[in-house]
Symmetry: C2
Subunit: 276 residues, 2 copies
Amino acid sequence: MPGFTQKFVSRKKDLQSLLCVGLDPDPSKIPAGYSPGPAGMLEFLTDVTVATAGEAVAYKPNLAFFEVMGSAGWDLFEKVIQTVRDHAPEALIIADAKRGDIGNTARFYARTFFETFDCDALTIAPFMGPDTIEPYLEYSSKGIIALCYTSNPGAASFLGYGEIPLYEKIAESVQEMNREHKNLWMVVGATKELHAISRIRCLAPDIPFLVPGIGAQGGDLAGILGSCGADLLINSSREILYAASHRDQVIEKSREKAGELVQSVRDICINAGIVL
Amino acid sequence: MPGFTQKFVSRKKDLQSLLCVGLDPDPSKIPAGYSPGPAGMLEFLTDVTVATAGEAVAYKPNLAFFEVMGSAGWDLFEKVIQTVRDHAPEALIIADAKRGDIGNTARFYARTFFETFDCDALTIAPFMGPDTIEPYLEYSSKGIIALCYTSNPGAASFLGYGEIPLYEKIAESVQEMNREHKNLWMVVGATKELHAISRIRCLAPDIPFLVPGIGAQGGDLAGILGSCGADLLINSSREILYAASHRDQVIEKSREKAGELVQSVRDICINAGIVL
């Protein structure tokens, strides 16, 4: 069975795209015209999936926006996975849950996202130590995406701590732990200083990156592609999800925004001689 | 409305106890004689609550063991909260979810555990930076329990990183951020070196600790009480939960184990002149 990274490489080539669409259904931002509650969220996220199925390598539902509704939210999460499988069958599904725990607890989190919900990948917070990563590795067909240096301004406080910053130490550990199963990725924010991103790329040459921070957060798309190459997923959430203010325009506007981002990536890659 | 820490102080005095009972319903360990599935887990956790209601200051359900069942697990989580409210109305409920994210996502996690489920406190992973703590602080009646130095062996790799270890930096930040709302706690593992625990206590004198690692993990109960005083919750999960192998004995055996731990704490405190 091809692993997560192989599926990524194959779909990236087919679509000539690095796009990951973040699915963050915030009730206060959902365009007018949808039903209220979880039913309307499913209609909305289905439209966004239909709009972007030809551009998106991956979809990344953010669990916070689901679990706030309790068990109804987890039912919605299951339905959203199904709607992505129906409308974009080759797309990868990344559960953005940033789970971080050890031993038996981590094994239960792995089982949740890889068995109960059969997602293709999960974001994890490895900061409690390498024993927070190990329990996931045996799922060799799944992607394990460890936070390394996140896009938020506060990331420098702890992840950038130390004479040699902590994110370098995390990158080295992840590179080392990836040897056997080849299913580890890392989150590296596009808003970080380019020298930091380049350094992480050098320390973890075999690890693809999931990159938040493009768009509203102001990350440097050309910079990250130039310093890291194309073993990346570039995440966009708000710009694509909330491109329209009314249901009638969601498919058109979301498709347009996704297309713009994909075209920017292609243009940068052609200019820089990067093969997608 | 009294805050989480005030409720803790009051119940600690009333019960002369520091006990927090971890509720980790692992299907492979639940004693024989209960119904299968979530219904049996509720029966089991109700028995454990009934058994320990006179000893437990707090209960700490671990979300991993619930969400593995999908929406049925979140229904169970809601029912477990209700059973604790019914059988131990003064006890505090700590959702052990170790959520760690920023901005809007963190606000949704806060809403999940403090509004949708009305827990008394939530464990959070603050490693992405101080902006992972801020969104929770406005819930001034709730407890926000930030991981600082966890009980697992691997914690030294990243949390102990740096000439001055990262956990010291986290402790300083938490102490500083606690000034206004006084609702921050930290997780400090009983398995850590006593000089590290004492140092954290010095850097964060106003922050109570949630302490895992006593029991199976071999943490030093007398050491942590001696170096930190009694602004602590001492967690025990497996030893109390799985004290019996059959349903018929759960109430008796769990009560016995809880009583033993509470008595150990009282004895140490009396010998060391620590006021509970």
